[in-house]
Symmetry: C2
Amino acid sequence: LIRTTKLQRTYQMGKNTVQALAGVDLEIERGTFVALVGPSGSGKSTLLNVIGGLDRPSSGEVWVSDLELGQAPDKKLVSFRRDRVGFIFQSFNLLPTNQAWENVALPLMLAGRSRSERRQRAESLLEQVGLGDRADHRPAELSGGQQQRVAIARALANDPVLILADEPTGNLDSRTGRDVLLLLQRLVREQNVTLLMVTHDMNAASYADRIVHMRDGKIEQIETIERT
Amino acid sequence: LIRTTKLQRTYQMGKNTVQALAGVDLEIERGTFVALVGPSGSGKSTLLNVIGGLDRPSSGEVWVSDLELGQAPDKKLVSFRRDRVGFIFQSFNLLPTNQAWENVALPLMLAGRSRSERRQRAESLLEQVGLGDRADHRPAELSGGQQQRVAIARALANDPVLILADEPTGNLDSRTGRDVLLLLQRLVREQNVTLLMVTHDMNAASYADRIVHMRDGKIEQIETIERT
Ligand SMILES: Nc1ncnc2c1ncn2[C@@H]1O[C@H](COP(=O)(O)OP(=O)(O)OP(=O)(O)O)[C@@H](O)[C@H]1O
Ligand SMILES: Nc1ncnc2c1ncn2[C@@H]1O[C@H](COP(=O)(O)OP(=O)(O)OP(=O)(O)O)[C@@H](O)[C@H]1O
Ligand SMILES: [Mg+2]
Ligand SMILES: [Mg+2]
């Protein structure tokens, strides 16, 4: 489903150049759960943003099924993200003036669903992440881990074929985190969703089929997890 | 240094009442490192906010040395926070239009230090959290874990006697997280700083002298860590 070739993303800071991605070659098959790990600042969020069409390469190519994202026009990236990708942001990016269920329902609104359809789907998803009784709270009325779970539920709302999760359990206790990871794993196995998950938690990474290790904007190694 | 008595914090949501803190009795001695753990939504951030004078109790008392924060006038809370507390927020709360060093230097500006003094102190602190080469980046030009480390450095800038850290390693890889925890531990042991740290990471909690377990707005148990 995903293929990057010699992918680079460079930032110009005055006279200095920051090589956030310094040549990434990566292939991810449809319906696999891949964990992306590495030191803070090694380029994980940048890689996720480029694969999700939120950022453009400086050079190299990034293919998601038959679409090359680097050359695609903006309109194509917008519809790609809206229809096919569910993104869980490292800083959540919830709408502060909207209630939890409205935040979750946002992708469905963009997809043109009716209000009752959206409300029902949003409440079901909030239930699945343990927030059934928080549907009407706004982000400032939620704990950090609750906000994170709203962001997770939102990413699943539109039944995406590709989920890009940037540290989805960073603010969750071990039990709540495990529930989220089992939910994500189930989506991969039962609905053939492709999941690329950045994490600093090696226990979370152990739920994946493969673990990609990054350092200084490059892939250092890839582990395949054998399950008996 | 810290004593809470029958501390409650209640939120009114239409007809429902959320008991974020449901009667908390806690004592923390000066110069100790206390970890606060518990499920997502159990009241940890709320407790930290009340102890730091960022939020008022609904009932009960919270004493930090000789100041009872529930009854103190706003002006006293402002000077308390400015002069004595370093706060690391769960969502960082950096100023987006300011560079990393300016964000770190903000408490020193509020304390009236000169610009060169502020710049030097800020750069030294950024060095200590591994961001010496990122001093001029703005938050949007930093990774999640780098933003978290800027928030940590800022909390230390004014040599606070009390540090309140809300999940300070949640976005850090294990090596960077360990460096931060050792730095915090050193401040407690060498400078008699009092540190109350919320965390979901039991490895991070193991750096503390005591671990306070919360559930549903109450303290469930307190573990004391014996070090040989
Ligand atoms: N302004 C508010 N209005 C209503 N409820 C609130 C408000 N702020 C917090 N809450 C509720 O209070 C409870 C405690 O929140 P708190 O942020 O202290 O949890 P926490 O232990 O820090 O959780 P986490 O580990 O997820 O960060 C949560 O259930 C939350 O939904
Ligand atoms: N807009 C920008 N301008 C300059 N440098 C940037 C910009 N955005 C990111 N960077 C730099 O690119 C590098 C990679 O950032 P990225 O956010 O991908 O790291 P990460 O692996 O997600 O880190 P973390 O684990 O801390 O979230 C970092 O060193 C960061 O400082
Ligand atoms: Mg990141
Ligand atoms: Mg919290």
